[in-house]
Symmetry: C2
Subunit: 559 residues, 2 copies
């Protein structure tokens, strides 16, 4: 099947390479997505073929909206990438996952006997989970089409661009989860230590702050091996500040964690894991970028009052024992409090919320997120583009300047007699050439201090912002449901007592959304300030070093 | 006829424009050279067509070596360029010039009645000049093929790239001029004030320094008109420092002057006039670049001990009266002391030169010039390329950075409540966006302070260096001739007395060459130092301003 893509940005291919220039709006036929390193191959209207950054285009086919489902096998360009490639598989749908779970390397590499140990009972548990996930049966009289239509609207405005909107293998589709909570049929006792409080502060409602803040460092990954070295893989070393005990986690462990978090928290956007499509020219550079993006993921987790203390995350951070790991893993996968059902753990202010106020805030959030989504993507793409520019044309331009001067100096030295002043001039000109060649190297090095970290930060924001539409849709679904219940009660088809419970629980859901909106606002305010300052300081430092180099060179003419 | 060109440099076309990327070494079919502004149109091997800078390619056809002869009619993109276009015609060969001299606008625009006033006598004078220019009849026994072959070798090594190697309408081919001087048959009395002295100083032989140094400014050109405004043209205002009287000269006057200088001084490279193919995006910018390059021409003339005081130049600089102008023009065109014959005006040290020493210096000069020719072209092209880069991609890259930040600020402002700190952050981010957009504008403006003046200076050097191979060939021809005479004398076919005169006069020619080589060396030593310092200071200033802008922006985050 031919897939067409449309260029979202201008991209100028490096002449003399396989890269191809594309122009914003241009339609291309996609030839190959297995190039790796963030590149795709395509053919333009003129019939030229070449590579362009996958991030610069969007697919035009309907499959667009579930890109991971249709994605081809992962490119296998190196061992690290190989290890990485499971991300693509695990992001597939249920069926896909189930048929491939025995040969995708998940079990082989990590937890060979998870399934066999669990046995039939566990299988049943899994099945029970699935049965819970069937699409919501509309209540009698509920206009199901309208309901779905409405929510679809909300989510589809963000289209395929919302990277984290995806189903995962165990989680129910979050649109429909939580019915039992909302209708008051879910009633479990949550232990105190698992309760999460929402409080009112000067800015509105907020998650109760983290009692004991901590941080976790993600250290440079190590290549580990098992089966006597036959298989090797990259493992990241995580060290939490609260115990200083290092744990070793592979990307697929992160991926597993991410799935658990996604299915559990339908009102909290989960920070994204690194993309497969990180730009970078060397394996080392690629691995380092992934490490930085994992650090961003981990940082966001640590700073989130709810996520930072959730059980599966704590298990991921601290477990060093294989048996306990398996037990924790099974427990997490059996968790019933998923999606809106998780809200049973929340303790919110007594006060009932004013629906109009909630509507106002969510609408503002929707408008904001919609605009922010475009902005963070544009910053991310700009960072990728600038990195490429610095490492490619900017570097080579400087080197061309340098070579022109250096060769001039060389030519002049062919006509040198014993005239001392000429000789000094010649060497100063050669030095000028050398300085520009050096500046070229500085351009090549620079992105790792400014545009790459900025891009990594905005990768995080892209994920968070991209998660909000689903969060908003989940909330909106609950509100619609509540209105439906109000109507049913008016029509005497629902008891007042049940309606009151529905109203109370809808408020809990709204409180959670408001707390999360506020959390995102206050986090990004601090974080973006620091990010921008760091970026600008690095840029200033760079141009200062250019000035220093040139001033140093200029001095050689004065002797 | 299809003409093919080969790319000398990489050029990256701006996406979304008619520009085409070309890669060094790539062969293209030339489609159109009449685009103007330094652009040519071509088709690459893939069949794509587009524009690229003419300076980035070289023609592959044999006509290559006499590009002006085959050049199509000048592009007529504006009045200024129209006026400019005569350069191309006047650079043609004799026949071409003669058939077109009545309709190329030369007479119309300037000196309508020059030819008719001179009458039959003047025509005869012109004819007499031509008869003098017939190819040198080899002396009996002289191996003419070897002789020509040798000189051709010297000149052709520089190929078509030597812009100023050209025949002009009255001058004899400089290869063969000056026989009457060399063989001692030319004996005219040169008035004392026209004598030019060569002296010995610490660095070797030198032109006697300028007694009264002066400078000439070329002011911003004015659009003038004649025939009651029907014809308009650009005139440059020249003001010499020695009399402070402004004269108005059009490009064709410069061109006429340049021809006179070329035919008269076969041992002195004449500084070049501006190219047609100056890069620049607006008429004003083009006109200003031409002014700067004319200023470079004028400066070199003023600083040259021989050129600065020659009669045709003085006439050009000072004549304000139309009648006197015509008389001077006629006189210059009747000048018999052209090419090597001019050497009759030289007074040199008594001492005979050692041929081996002369050979050593000229060989070193040849090697140097050959290498320098490549270098100055590469600097010139680098300046053109960098100018384009700064005004194109560098500018637009900065603006893309700026827009990304600015839009981020805008998105954030959609979620502003009354939180003051957020609001400050948002405005700081918007300001950062603005700063990068402003830096983009600085990039666009910058070349006129660094790369353009550097390019203008190296345009001058390209012309001077490009003139040297012919100068060296002229000298070499004389030396060959001398050797021939020595052989003839050994064979008793020439009188010893005549040989001695030949030897003496060959020494005069060598003295002139040595003086010119030294002049070029000392001039460029001073000039290149100042040029490089000025360039570096401008570059430093630019990057400092970038730092200032960013530091200023950074401060807004600290409030």
């Amino acid at each position: 099947m031919t897939t067409q893509v449309q260029a979202l940005y201008d991209f100028t291919g490096e002449p003399g390479t396989t890269e191809m220039s594309i122009t914003c709006g241009e339609i291309l036929t996609l030839l190959n997505t297995e190039i790796g390193e963030g590149w795709w191959e395509g053919r333009n209207a003129k019939g030229e073929t070449g590579l362009f950054p996958a991030a610069y285009v969007r697919k035009l086919t309907p499959e667009d909206s579930v890109p991971t489902k249709m994605a081809p096998a992962a490119p296998r360009y190196d061992q690290a990438a190989d290890d990485w490639s499971d991300q693509q598989f695990s992001a597939g749908d249920n069926n896909y996952q189930r048929t491939t779970s025995n040969d995708d390397g998940w079990d082989d590499d990590w937890d060979d006997d998870t399934y066999s140990e669990i046995g039939p009972g566990a299988q049943q548990q899994t099945k029970a989970n699935f049965s819970q996930q069937q699409p919501l049966t509309p209540l009698p009289g509920m206009p199901i089409n309208d309901y779905n239509h409405h929510i679809d609207d909300t989510a589809s405005n963000f289209g395929s661009s919302v990277g984290t909107v995806r189903k995962n293998k165990f989680a129910p589709s979050s649109k429909v989860s939580g019915e039992s909570y909302l209708l008051g049929t879910l009633n479990v006792e949550v232990p105190d230590h698992e309760k999460v409080y929402i409080i009112q502060d000067e800015d509105g409602y907020a998650w109760s702050p983290i009692a004991q803040p901590y941080s976790v460092t993600v250290a440079s990954p190590k290549k580990e091996s098992k089966f006597k070295g036959i298989k090797s893989f990259i493992a990241y070393q995580l060290t939490p500040s609260f115990n200083n005990i290092q744990v070793s986690r592979r990307y697929k462990h992160f991926d597993w964690l991410h799935e658990r978090l996604q299915e559990k928290f339908s009102l909290i956007p989960i920070p994204p894991l690194p993309d497969k499509q990180i730009s970078g020219r060397y394996d080392e550079q690629l691995i380092e970028r992934r490490r930085v993006q994992l650090q961003e993921f981990v940082d966001w987790m640590c700073k989130h009052p709810v996520l930072s203390k959730c059980e599966v995350w704590q298990h991921f951070l601290t477990c060093t024992d294989e048996k306990r790991w398996k037990a924790g893993k099974r427990q997490a996968e059996r968790d019933n409090l998923l999606g809106l059902n998780y809200c049973i753990s929340l303790v919110v202010p007594e006060k009932a919320l004013l629906q109009s106020q909630v509507d106002h805030i969510t609408e503002q959030c929707y408008t904001f997120i919609s605009s922010m989504d475009t902005s963070v993507k544009s910053v991310t793409n700009m960072c990728i583009a600038q990195t490429k520019r610095f490492q490619g044309p900017y570097k080579s331009d400087c080197q061309k300047i340098g070579e022109a001067f250096y060769n001039l100096g060389n030519a002049l030295s062919l006509d040198e007699g014993t005239i001392v002043s000429t000789s000094k001039l010649t060497s100063a000109i050669k030095m000028t050439g050398g300085a520009y060649i050096e500046i070229g190297r500085m351009y090549e090095e620079q992105p790792k201090y400014d545009f790459e970290p900025l891009g990594d930060k905005f990768h995080l924001y892209k994920g968070i912002v991209g998660g909000f539409p689903e969060v908003l849709a989940n909330h909106k679904g609950a509100v619609q449901k509540k209105r439906e219940c109000e109507r049913l009660t008016a029509e005497h088809k629902m008891e007042i007592a049940q309606l009151n419970e529905v109203l109370r629980r809808t408020d809990v859901i709204s409180y959670a959304l408001l707390a999360e909106i506020n959390h995102f606002k206050s986090e990004r305010t601090i974080d973006l300030k620091a990010t921008m300052q760091k970026f600008l300081r690095q840029q200033i430092n760079f141009y200062k070093r250019v000035v220093d180099k040139l001033e140093n060179t200029l001095q050689h003419y004065d002797n």
